[in-house]
Symmetry: C2
Subunit: 198 residues, 2 copies
C-alpha cells in the first residue's frame, strides 16, 4: 500500500498543490485509511518530502549541461530551464515543490542544499578562477530569478516571452556573469542571437 499512497500523492500534489490535497481525500483515493499515511510517512509533510525525493531528480539534466562547452552554457541553461518548466508534466511538480519550499523552512533547506550541491558547487568547479563561486552563485541566482518571476509570480513581460526572446535578453547578462563584461576573443557568433527570427 505504501507504493500506492506514494503514487496517488505524487499525482495529486503536482496537480493540486500541497495545501489543497487533504490527507483524508488522499487516503480515500488510495483506498486506505488516513491514519495509514501518518503510519508510513509520519506526517503530511513527510509524505510530501518523500514525493519530492522521488520526483526531484534533475541532477542529470544539470550534468549534461555542464558537459557542453562553457561558452554556450547561458543559452543552453535558459533553454533547458524554460523547456522543463513550460511543460506542465514537469513544470507543475517543480512549481509545487518551490511553492512548498517557500512556505516551509524544512523543505527550503532541502531545496537549498540541492541547489548548492548540484548547481553552484559544480558550476564553480567547472569555472575555476578566483571568484568562481561568487560568479556561479550569481548565475544560479539569475536563473532562480527566472523561476521566481516567470513561473512563481508570472510577472509580465517575462511570463509570456518565448524561449528565444529570453535567450536574447537574458543570455548576454548570464554571459557577463560567467565571463565578465569584457568580450572574449571573437567566437564568430558574438551577438548570440537566437535562431532566425525578426
Amino acid at each position: 500500500m505504501r507504493a500506492t499512497i506514494l503514487a496517488v500523492a505524487r499525482d495529486r500534489f503536482r496537480r493540486e498543490g500541497y495545501e489543497a490535497v487533504t490527507m483524508r481525500s488522499l487516503a480515500a483515493d488510495a483506498g486506505v485509511d488516513a491514519a495509514l499515511i501518518s503510519y508510513y510517512f509520519g506526517s503530511k509533510r513527510g509524505l510530501f518530502a518523500a514525493v519530492l525525493e522521488l520526483t526531484l531528480n534533475p541532477a542529470d539534466v544539470l550534468a549534461s549541461l555542464l558537459e557542453g562547452e562553457l561558452e554556450s552554457l547561458p543559452q543552453r541553461a535558459i533553454r533547458a530551464l524554460v523547456a522543463g518548466w513550460d511543460r506542465p508534466e514537469t513544470g507543475l511538480p517543480l512549481l509545487t515543490a518551490v511553492r512548498a519550499a517557500a512556505a516551509d523552512p524544512a523543505l527550503a533547506t532541502l531545496l537549498r542544499g540541492g541547489l548548492q550541491r548540484e548547481m553552484v558547487d559544480r558550476l564553480a568547479d567547472r569555472l575555476g578562477g578566483a571568484d568562481a563561486r561568487h560568479r556561479a552563485g550569481a548565475f544560479v541566482g539569475q536563473l532562480g530569478g527566472l523561476v521566481f518571476t516567470r513561473y512563481l509570480l508570472a510577472v509580465e513581460p517575462l511570463a509570456s516571452m518565448t524561449a528565444d526572446e529570453i535567450v536574447r535578453t537574458l543570455g548576454p547578462a548570464l554571459r557577463t556573469t560567467l565571463f565578465g563584461p569584457v568580450r572574449r576573443a571573437a567566437t564568430g557568433n558574438d551577438h548570440a542571437r537566437g535562431p532566425a527570427s525578426a
Copy 2:
C-alpha cells in the same frame, strides 16, 4: 478597534509569518473576539491583504532610484534592495509578504501587479528603445532572483555575500541587461568596483 487589530496583525505577521499567526491568538492579543476580525476584514487573508497594502509601499524608493542617472542604476538598485531586505524591520515583512504570495494566488496577483506597474513599466519608460520592456522585465527578474535565492531560500554563496560583493558580481550583468553587451562610452568608473576593498 479596527486600527488596533491592524497594528497587532502587522507586528505579528512580520514576526511570525502568515500561517503561524492564528486568528484566535491575534484576537486575544488585540483584546477582542476572533469573530471581529472576520467582521472587519472578511477573512484572515483579507486581514493579511490589508496589512500588506499598509506596509508595502516602497514605491517611493523605486521612484528615487529611477530619478538618478541610468548608468549607475544597477549598483544603486542592488544596494537599495540589499539594504532594505537585510534590515529585519523592513526585510521580515517583505519576506512574509513574498512567502504568502508564493502560496496564495490572490496575493501573488497583488504582488505581480505591483511589480509590473511600479517597476517594469516605469523602468521601460525610462529606458526607451525597441525592446525596452523586455530588458526592463529581465532586469526586474534578475533582482527577483536575488530576493528568491538570497532571502527566500538563502542559497550560498549569495546568502552571505556582502553588498559590495554582490555589486561586483551581479552589477555587470545588470548593466548588460540594460545596455547590451557592448561597453558604452567610457564613463570613468568603467569597472564599477565598489568602495575601497581588497
